[in-house]
Each structure stands twice: as C-alpha cells, then as structure tokens.
Amino acid sequence: MRLDEIVRALGLEILTPVADLSRTVDNGYTGDLLSDVLAGARSGDLWTTIQRHANVVAVAKVTGIAAIVIAGGARPSGDVLQKAEAEGVPILATPDPLFAITGRIHRLLFPEEG
C-alpha cells in the first residue's frame, strides 16, 4: 500500500512536508531499541516508535525504512525534521499510543488477518 494512502487512512500528521510519500509500504516494525530495529526492520517497513532524536533518521536511512511514525503525540525537534527531509526520510506523528497505532497499521496492511 502506498505511504500517502496510509497517511490518509489513519489521519497521520506529516511532519516532513518535503519528503516523498509515494513509496510502497510492505510491512511494519515496532520498536524503541535502535539495535533491535536495525536487526529486524526491513526496507519498505513503516517503523512505529516513541524515539524522536536524530538517530532515528540514521536508523531509517540505513535500513531503508519507508517512514517513521512517532507515537504518543511526541514530536522531534526542528533539527531532526530538517535532517529527515535532507535524507529523504518521512516522519509522521500520531497522538495514538504505540500499541494502538501498531494495531491500526497492521489491520490496514493485513486486513485478511483481522
């Protein structure tokens, strides 16, 4: 499913207006431990986390993650958002807690699993 369709369907807030939302999202990964995300996330995943410092951009860039969804209403600093735009990593935000947004994304990507 295209990233911009997911953004619309879930009412996610786009914090990086310049970043490209036309990428296809295949799957998702949830985690706050950066090494765990590096080991487990795949290219094209949507990454849900509560982390919001500059290194999330590096983790996304290295793994080829399609976008970062920051849960729980947290917001990165302007510097982090600028860096994300420069690196072409979309950052999205939601007031939903991590558990809820992960479930909503899963339902959207894998409706047959309920």
Binding site: D32, L33, L34, S35, D36, L38, A39, S43, T49, Q51, H53, A54, N55, V57, A58, V59, K61, V62, T63, G64, D79, E87
Partner: protein, 143 residues
C-alpha cells in the same frame, strides 16, 4: 571513491549517525546491491554509536570499497574493553541510563556488527583503545 573516513564525537547524540547515513547513501549511489548497503550501514551505525557512547575522545569510522568487499574499520583511543567475550554477549551492556532511555544500550551493537559481517575482528587493550574490522564480501548475500 575507494575510501571514506569520518570522525565521531564522544557523547554527541544529535550529530552521531551522520557518518552511517552518508556511508549508506554513498554505497547505494555506487550501485552496490541494496542488501550489502544495508549491512554496511548497520555495521557503520553500531560502530558509530559505540564511539559516541563509550570512547573517551570519540574515534573514527573508515570504509574502504574494494572490488571484492566493503571493509569498515572503527577505532578509538580508549578506554578499551576489559572482557571482549562478555562485551560480545547478546544483551550485555554498560550503557548509562540516559542512553538506554534513548534506545541505545540494548547489548546488541557488537552482535549486529558481527552478524552483518563475513569477517569480524575485534582487538582491544584496556587503557589504550579498541579496533574493530568488519569485512562484507560483495559476492555473498547473507543476513
């Protein structure tokens, strides 16, 4: 573009990660297969975070792009690792509380570096420094 070198500042969370980003971008720009770019990026990122978190005066990450392999060397001037076997144990970490809250210190950094390398070598002298050399063969498609 056979060799890229970056210096990493100790304790600087906000600028750390930029070396790995650039390494991943430059490797991809060379048309190197995505799986290899990802592995090189993971190795560089974990190395970079170790320098940022633990090296007393930061250190360097060097990437050499060879026809047969990508070679990443991470070096610092101390404090060095007392027990390498213990440091390599999944889950073992000496990260401070502030770093754990930021999602570091999972005790998976060195393990991730090893798992994403075809050849992994670590040497360390307590009080002196640590050198990690990771080689990723361009002909294999592991990890």
């Amino acid at each position: 573009m056979p060799r890229l070198a970056f210096s990493v500042t100790a304790g600087d969370v906000e600028t750390s990660g930029s070396a790995s980003e650039e390494i991943a971008s430059r490797v991809r720009a060379l048309g190197i297969e995505e799986g290899l770019a990802r592995r090189a990026g993971i190795v560089a990122f974990e190395g970079e975070m170790n320098l940022m978190l633990y090296a007393k005066s930061g250190g360097t990450v060097t990437v050499e792009i060879l026809p047969e392999a990508l070679e990443i060397v991470v070096e610092d001037n101390g404090p060095g690792i007392d027990d390498i076997e213990l440091a390599m144990t999944p889950g073992f970490s000496t990260a401070p509380e502030w770093a754990i809250e930021l999602g570091f210190g999972a005790g998976m950094g060195l393990v991730n570096m090893k798992n994403n390398s075809d050849h992994f070598e670590i040497t360390s002298q307590p009080g002196d420094g640590t050198r990690i050399r990771c080689r990723i063969d361009r002909r294999t498609h592991a990890a």
